[in-house]
């Protein structure tokens, strides 16, 4: 949120610098003194966690690229050598492989937080749409990265997913095939494909980095949303980012890192597929091809549609539709907290996504297909029907007048007689008194 700069250069040198390239001023205004809603809960710490994930993936990835050989003949062996012979290679490789999963865990929590609290609503539409682009770029990066170890799942994952584009043959005969061959650089997935995937896998994270900078920029223009969905009105609604939000983010980050380290150090194979420890064999398809867990809901949607082109369209639409929800949601309030009816639909949507994830890992047959269709139908209905209709019909529950009211009303009521609106006696100043 734009606010008056409080940065004061302390030395002559700092002053000189400030007049020429005021980076310290920007950092101070945006990351030290930036007004942060005081009522943010721990779901708001995932932005910082995601930044950590991106940096960790880039750093470990650069290291792995120093040892990795992007050729069909050597890729598998070079990854094996990284794990066996490179100093701490086993650690860095596991960090990168598990890191991808951790990144998606964090980004999904981040997205559902945005959905629940209406963080996509005006004036944060562009912030949200940038997020959708980041998600898409992450998916492309993860998909291409998974090809690089050149194991069986790598090879067949690439084969199956790139073949999705061949469905365009249904639109213009030959178009899909042409696109697929263009992607492959040949008539099948080969070392040529691996080379270009490596190149793009190295490029895209920096594209994500650029998008993230825009995302944060947009965030700092509109300011953070908060659990009430009510904008900051007075100074007492906010606290300075440093040290309040920073320390909270740091604590949450370490909790997240415990989980991350647990996977890296105790179960590096858990989040991957055993099949990928078999070298790619273009003659043998593994019996059960499944994508990485973070793609499973989309994979379920793909397979739920009986038509090849239809499935591909549904899969891409399931992500693209996210970009339109700022306008699909017709509710007068942002936060689901004050939406007694929509609340139930939100949880139903979350359950649908989890169910689709489960079904994506199951074979596409019998009862699994039936349920995949039900949940796919709800996935789209949630955005296209529930959001506009429930939003315009529902009467929101009574809302507090401001963030401060929400905070004090919630916690201060019990101790209202102790003075200072619930502030412990002796506290000379509290933000709400300002």
């Amino acid at each position: 949120m734009s606010h008056e700069s409080t940065y004061e250069p302390k030395s002559a040198a700092a002053k000189w610098w400030d007049q020429r390239l005021p980076v310290p001023r920007m950092m101070h205004d945006q990351f030290v003194d930036f007004p942060t809603p005081r009522n943010l809960n721990y779901l708001w710490t995932f932005g910082g966690i995601l930044t950590f994930c991106l940096v960790a993936q880039i750093v470990t990835g650069i290291v792995l690229a120093m040892h990795y050989q992007p050729s069909a003949a050597e890729a598998f062996d070079s990854v094996d050598r990284i794990r066996r012979d490179v100093n701490y290679g086993w650690l860095i490789q596991a960090m990168h492989a598990s890191g991808a999963s951790m990144f998606f865990i964090a980004v999904y929590i981040h997205i559902f937080r945005g959905l629940y609290y209406g963080s996509y609503r005006a004036p944060r539409e562009i912030l949200w749409i940038l997020g959708v682009f980041i998600l898409l770029a992450m998916m492309a990066t993860a998909f291409m990265g998974y090809a690089l170890p050149w194991g069986q799942m790598s090879f067949w994952g690439v084969t199956v997913i790139t073949n999705l584009f061949s469905s365009l043959d249904q639109v213009i005969p030959g178009l899909g095939t042409a696109i697929v061959q263009w992607l492959w650089g040949g008539y099948s997935v080969s070392g040529t494909t691996l080379n270009r995937f490596f190149s793009l896998h190295y490029l895209l994270p920096f594209v994500i980095f650029g998008l993230v900078i825009l995302h944060i920029w947009a965030l700092h223009v509109a300011g953070q949303n908060n659990p009430t969905g009510i904008e900051i009105k007075t100074k007492s609604d906010s606290v300075p980012m440093f040290p309040y939000a920073v320390m909270k983010d740091a604590f949450a980050l370490f909790v997240f890192v415990i989980l991350f380290a647990w996977f890296v150090l105790f179960m590096p194979d858990y989040l991957g597929h055993a099949d990928n420890f078999n070298v790619a064999d273009p003659l043998v398809t593994p019996p059960h091809i499944v994508p990485e867990w973070y793609f499973l809901p989309f994979y379920a949607i793909l397979r739920a549609i009986p038509d090849k082109l239809g499935g591909v369209i549904a899969m891409f639409a399931s992500i693209a539709i996210l970009a339109f929800i700022p306008w699909l949601d017709r509710s007068p309030v942002r936060s689901t907290k004050y939406r007694p009816i929509y609340k139930w639909f939100f949880w139903l949507f979350l359950i649908s996504c989890l169910a689709l994830g489960y079904l994506g890992a199951k074979p596409a047959e019998g009862v699994y297909v039936f349920w995949a269709r039900i949940f796919t139908a709800y996935y789209f209905a949630h955005f296209l029907i529930v959001m506009p209709i429930v939003g315009s019909m529902e009467t929101p529950s009574k809302m507090p007048g401001s963030i401060t009211d929400a905070v004090l009303g919630k916690k201060g009521a019990a101790k209202s007689d102790s003075g200072g609106g619930g502030v412990p006696a002796g506290a000379t100043a509290s933000p709400e008194d300002r």
Binding site: V59, D85, V86, N87, Y88, P243, F254, A429, R434
Partner: protein
């Protein structure tokens, strides 16, 4: 922020401890990322090289690879050995033998070769100045002012014992660890 607010940056012992602990963790994470660039277990264990000396005629030299580096092996003529032996150590720019088999000894020709096999000179053929490969292996090469090797990059002259005599190179050629397995076979490394 108004002036009466308690300074949120108060140096609380907990905050200091937490920050210090986080910093220590972040710092120790740097090591794996530095160490990964060191030679890996495969490179460290790289095979030693066995060389058959029998095809090398007197006055000839061959170059073999050991750990990715060229190793010069010269079958020196008696005159060359004699010339190398005559040089006084205190006249040399680098008085140390630079022989991994006799570390720290003076740079006499005897200390740079194996006793009983003095005609064989085995050394890493990399100029100690900036890493070029000196001339002097092929018969037609310029062997420099001292009949040994000559580095064309910056004009370093080495004698018939591979010792630096003139030019910018600071050290004699390094002698790698090696031993005679038989009279005509050596094992380097």
């Amino acid at each position: 922020m108004s002036a009466d607010v308690e300074d949120p940056q108060r140096r609380d012992i907990l905050v200091v401890a937490a920050t210090a602990f986080s910093a220590v963790g972040a710092a120790s994470l740097i090591w794996p990322f530095v160490h990964q660039m060191n030679p890996d277990a495969g490179a460290q264990a790289l095979a030693s090289t066995e060389v058959d000396l029998s095809p090398i005629a007197e006055g000839q030299a061959i170059t073999v690879m050991w750990r990715g580096k060229p190793v010069f092996i010269r079958n020196r003529t008696p005159e060359e050995v004699e010339a190398a032996k005559k040089v006084k150590v205190d006249e040399l720019p680098d008085p140390v033998s630079r022989n991994e088999n006799n570390p720290g000894t003076p740079a006499t020709d005897a200390n740079r070769t194996v006793e009983g096999q003095e005609k064989w000179l085995v050394m890493v053929g990399i100029c100690t100045h900036l890493g070029c490969i000196p001339k002097g292996q092929a018969l037609a090469d310029s062997k420099g002012d001292f009949g040994g090797w000559f580095c064309p990059c910056h004009g370093s002259h080495y004698d018939t014992s591979g010792r630096i005599r003139k030019g910018p190179a600071p050290r004699n050629f390094d002698v790698p660890p090696y031993k005679f397995v038989s009279d005509t076979k050596i094992l380097i490394g």
